[in-house]
Structure formats: C-alpha cells, structure tokens
C-alpha cells in the first residue's frame, strides 16, 4: 500500500469528520443538471430497486414502514449509508441522488410508501 505525506492527525480528523458529518441531516438545495428533482419512486426504481427489491435480495429490504418515533434515527442511518456506503453498498453522491431527492426518498421509505414498489406490485 502506498503512503501519502499527509500528517496522521490530519487524516484521522478528516476521516472522523467524514463519518460524523454524514450524520447531519442538513440538506442543501438540489443542484442536479436535470431540470427537476425526481420523485422518490423514480429514484428508487433507477438506483435502489435493482438490489433492494424483494425478488433481488442483493441488499436488505429497506421499504418496510418504520414507527414514527424512530424516523429521525432511521433517517440518519439511511442518509449515512447512502452517502458513505456500507460494506457491499456503494456510496451514492450528490451528483447521482441530489440532497433534495435523498430527503424525499428517505421520507418515502420511512413512511412505507415504496413497499408495494419493492414487492413488484406497482
């Protein structure tokens, strides 16, 4: 493995900050080149469904509704996982799913609005 000349303390702080920063739910305005933010179902179909649909099972089921009391924690978890990736899950950056789209997607997932889509019922 090759090494860089960055100081260890700097790298540690950057890596730690990267992890913590993604927990933040501060969302900026969408800046995709597309002239509109996609609906949550469209984002799910184009990006998520290929692994997370029930008949694919490459990734875990993510469309079951969550109790409202757990929305904030679950929302932060999804946000972190999307932006940083997790094991087999790739990171998905702003240019692929804008902040506005991700906010809408998380909301739809928490409410269980995409459950039928994931089950192939729509």
């Amino acid at each position: 493995m090759h090494n860089t000349t960055i100081e260890k303390s700097t790298l540690g702080q950057r890596l730690a900050a990267l992890s913590l920063a993604a927990l933040s739910t501060v969302l900026a305005t969408a800046t995709l080149a597309a002239d509109r933010a996609r609906e949550p179902a469209e984002v799910y179909r184009q990006v998520c469904a290929h692994c997370h649909n029930l008949d694919k099972a490459v990734g875990p089921q993510i469309t079951m509704p969550f109790p409202e009391a757990a929305w904030e924690a679950r929302g932060d978890y999804i946000h972190t996982t999307v932006r940083e990736g997790r094991a087999a899950m790739p990171s998905l950056r702003n240019a692929k799913i804008s902040d506005t789209e991700l906010e809408g997607l998380i909301d739809a997932l928490l409410r269980g609005e995409l459950a039928d889509t994931a089950a192939g019922k729509e």
């Binding site: 090759h2 860089t4 960055i6 900026a28």
Partner: protein, 516 residues
C-alpha cells in the same frame, strides 16, 4: 476548519489552492464546488485493499458544460492543481469514485448527463459522460426504439462513457465496448477541444458511424489514460433481433474447462455464437445469490468438499457456460443444432435452454437479462459471499485455448489458496481472447485480512506476468505495478505522450501508472 487540518493537492500551497477554489467557484458557482467533509464523504469509499487515507480528495468539481471543463483545466494549469476525472463513479472494485491519490481534486462529470442523439436508423448514440445505462435504457424504451444496450454487470448505475474508457466489457454481441465506440469530444490539458474521427469536419453527419476519420486514429489514446477529458462519446447500439435464445451448458469436472474452451473457440470466431460468452465457476455462480457461510464457516480457502456440496445443493456445475443465439427463428434453429452437436460430442455437457435452464438453478435469469442488455445488478450478490465490502477484480487476459485456461486456473487457485481466499471466477470469451476475471473477495473491516488480500493481489500480478499473462485493467492501488509488467519501452512512450499533451501533469496523475 483551520488551515492545518486541510488536505491539499501535492505540491500546492494553501494560498494557491484557495485561489484556485475561488476561480473554480467563479466557473461553476459555489454549489458545484465541494470542499466540506459531508460533501466529500461519498468520494472516499473504496473496495480495494488500500489504505483509506491514501484516497481522500481535497475537493470535488461538478461541471455541467464542456466549456466549464475547459475553464477548469486552465485554472489547474495556472495553480498546478491535479484533477482526477470520474463519470458515474461506479467502477466498483477498481477505485469507485475515489481519487487516484489523496489530495487530488475530483472532476465529477456525472451532472453532464445529456443524451444528445439516438439514431434508430443507423443505431448510434451520442452521449455525455454522466449518462447511466439506466437513463439511456429508459430513453430508448420511451422512444419505442428497437435497440439494445450492452451493460456491464453494474449496469443501471454505471454508464457507457466511463465503462468504455476503462475498456470494460458486457455480454451481448457488442460486448467489447471500445470496439463499438465511435467518435469522441475531448478537452485536452491545454484547454483546447478536439473531436476525433469524422468529428473534425464541421456539420459532419458521419461522426458516429465511421470510426477512423483521417490520419492517425487517436481515440485509443483517451482510454485507460490521462491524456484528455472526454466530454462526449458516440457508441453503436445493437438492433433488437427478431429472436433470442439464451442457453446454459453445465460441466461437472474441474478439468472440463479445457474441453469447453476448445469447443467454444471456433463457434465464437465464426460467430455462430456471437455474444461475449461467460464460463462461470461454481463459486461465482453460487456467490451471486448464496452466502459462503451456508456451506462453509472456515476462514481459509473453501475446500473441494464444500464446492461439491454447493454444486449438489444449488444445482449448478463446476463450469457454467452462459451464451445466446440471436437472429431470426430459422437462423437460431440452424445454429442451435451446431451448438448441440459441438458440445454434445463428448457426452460430458448438460445443454439446456428455456424452462429447463430456468429451473436448473444458478444464475440463468440474470445472465439471460444481461445477454439482451437489460438492467440487472444481481451480480452484486458476490459482495455478500464473504461480506465486509472488500473486492478487487484480478483480470488477466488469455488466448481462447483450453491448455492456457487450465494453466491460469491452476495458478490462480494455488495463489488464492496460499492466502486463504476463494477462487470466485469466470472467463469472459471475446473473439479469440478471454478475460479471466477473478473477484478477490475479502473482509475489508478486518485489517489483517485486508493486508493479506493486498499481498495476494500483488503476487497474482507478478506470478501471472512471469508466465506471460498481463491484466487488461486494474484498480488504482495496483496501477503502477501492472504498468511495470508491460515493460519500459511501452512506459516510455506513455510518458512521452504525457509530457507532450499535459506538461504540467494536471490530468489524473498515476492513471494506468502514467505520470510526467
């Protein structure tokens, strides 16, 4: 953030970098210049066995227009800021969206995502780097065109430009992507824009149909390289055939790989079987939908007895050949008889299609989807085989000869076994060549295992090179080592070109081992 906490491009002072960032903001707007940690986090995830600390960007730039790319390059030259260009950033296991080395600025082309033209008569497309296969697939469906794409396994979330420029492959008859590329628009390091092939002729109608243009053909210089930034690319699309028959041939003995390749070779060269056939080993076939722990819990290389249990339990072969016939129903019937006779001669093969193949188990459904250009990410199931998010594609090239295939398989299994990893592999058959693709899967959350995977990959490169086998592509951690296996004379040419085209070394330093 204090100045001392910042990650800077190599050799660039904080003041110079600030000045460059200010100019980038003038070009792109503040919202399209990322410097904050939460913005840069997605650009740091890697699957290869490198140190996370070696792959952290200092910033990311998100242009939407080619003239913005020209302006960015001018600033980079002024301040000697190195940029690492990505398109959809889904070259998973090869470097993903991370920079080639810490401190480089990511030039993220994903927002340049316009489909500029799809011509259903000559079956061509002209697209920008950020277009995904899913986006192009949806567009073609929406228009009602009878055209097929040729996606690689990450299909939906990857894109034709990035995959073609890294000389990736797919599974239809158009599987060798660079072969079916036609015409580029490229921003050079000096800021000039050049159109290759027929694109230099103003108002040319043949930019996407005639590859060679006039004079030296230069498109290849912009693949697996750092000589320019491709802002548009043409490609050929396959007309949907009247009929399509995907099929599966299973063999049960490890030594059968020799027979498979020798039977297959004349069928491929003569185009009886026209697509990029795959010969899939048990563990790859199972790994797309089964986890390792179902059959084996040891941390060493999975033993033969477990492989036999997998074959029995999952209904798959030691070698599983996925191929397809295309054309009219009559053509397919004729060619099917040839295939049956060729593979049936020894009595070892189980040949099947339709319901029989679908019910056999394994990966027939997703293979059938990929061989007709449909979107499918089932292959990502491999990442669950061992778990932990570690993956590196070791991909040496071989001749399509059985003896050579056996030699490569034996060598790979020997080295993987030494380091405790599994032979999760397939051969992708070109016309006369094969890509022997091995997914070195490991637990990236275990530092000892990650180091072991790193050492294993390095040994694979060296030992294969000693026997005359080179890689067709590799990840950013090993680009320098792989470049070394191709010899100094070739490297000197690459360096000479780099110095001529990019004297300040601002474009993707280290790509394919190429630097000033």
């Amino acid at each position: 953030m204090s100045t001392t906490q910042r990650i800077l491009p190599k050799g660039v002072s904080a003041a110079s970098f600030d000045a460059a960032l200010a100019k980038f903001r003038e070009i792109l707007g503040t919202d399209n210049v990322f410097v904050e940690n939460e913005q840069l986090a997605p650009y740091t995830k890697i699957m290869m066995a490198g140190n996370d600390a070696d792959y952290i960007p200092s910033a990311a730039l998100l242009p939407t227009e080619a003239d913005q790319v020209q302006a960015i390059v001018a600033v980079c030259n002024q301040y000697k800021v190195p940029i690492w260009t990505i398109s959809t950033g889904k070259n998973l296991g090869y470097g993903s969206a991370a920079p080639g080395e810490t401190g480089q600025v990511i030039l993220d082309m994903h927002r340049m995502n316009r489909i500029l033209d799809v011509d259903p008569e000559v079956c061509t497309a002209l697209i920008e780097p950020g277009v995904t296969y899913q986006q192009l697939y949806d567009y073609i469906k929406e228009k009602g065109y009878k055209l097929w794409l040729d996606p690689p396994a990450p299909s939906a979330i990857a894109g034709p430009v990035g995959n073609t420029l890294d000389r990736g492959v797919g599974y239809t008859p158009y599987g060798e992507h660079f072969m079916f590329q036609c015409g580029m628009e490229v921003v050079l390091a000096n800021g000039e824009m050049v159109r290759t092939g027929m694109g230099g002729i103003e108002k040319s109608s043949s930019w996407q149909v005639f590859k060679w243009g006039y004079g030296p053909y230069i498109d290849g210089l912009f693949t697996q390289s750092n000589y320019g930034i491709v802002t548009k690319m043409g490609l050929w699309l396959m007309p949907e055939p009247p009929a399509y028959r995907p099929f599966l041939i299973q063999y049960q003995d490890p030594a059968d790989i020799e027979e498979i390749v020798d039977v297959l070779r004349p069928l491929r060269i003569s185009q009886i079987i026209p697509n990029a056939v795959v010969i899939v080993h048990t563990l790859w076939d199972a790994g797309t939908h089964v986890t390792r722990k179902k059959y084996y819990s040891g941390t060493d290389s999975i033993p033969r007895e477990a492989i036999e249990r997998i074959k029995e339990g999952e209904g798959i072969g030691e070698w599983n050949v996925y191929a397809a016939l295309y054309g009219t129903p009559e053509q397919i019937e004729v060619n099917w008889k040839i295939v049956e006779q060729a593979f049936g001669a020894s009595g070892k093969a189980k040949i099947m299609y339709g319901d029989e193949a679908e019910q056999r188990g394994g990966s027939f459904d997703y293979r059938a989807a990929l061989m007709k250009g449909d979107m499918n990410l089932q292959e990502f199931g491999l990442y669950n085989w061992r778990g932990g998010g570690g993956s590196m594609w070791f991909a040496p090239v071989s001749q399509a000869k059985g003896s050579e295939t056996k030699d490569q398989t034996d060598l790979a299994q020997q080295i993987l076994d030494k380091y405790g990893f599994d032979y999760v592999a397939e051969y992708i058959v070109g016309w006369r060549d094969m890509h022997h693709v091995i997914d070195l899967l490991y637990n990236r959350e275990d530092s000892e295992e990650t180091q072991r995977a790193h050492d294993c990959f390095a040994e694979l490169i060296d030992e294969f090179a000693k026997r005359g086998y080179g890689l067709y592509r590799t990840n950013t951690e090993f680009m320098e080592q792989v470049a070394g296996t191709f010899g100094e004379p070739l490297r000197n040419v690459h360096t000479t070109l780099k110095n001529a085209l990019d004297p300040n070394g601002i474009l993707s330093p280290g790509k394919s081992g190429i630097r000033q």
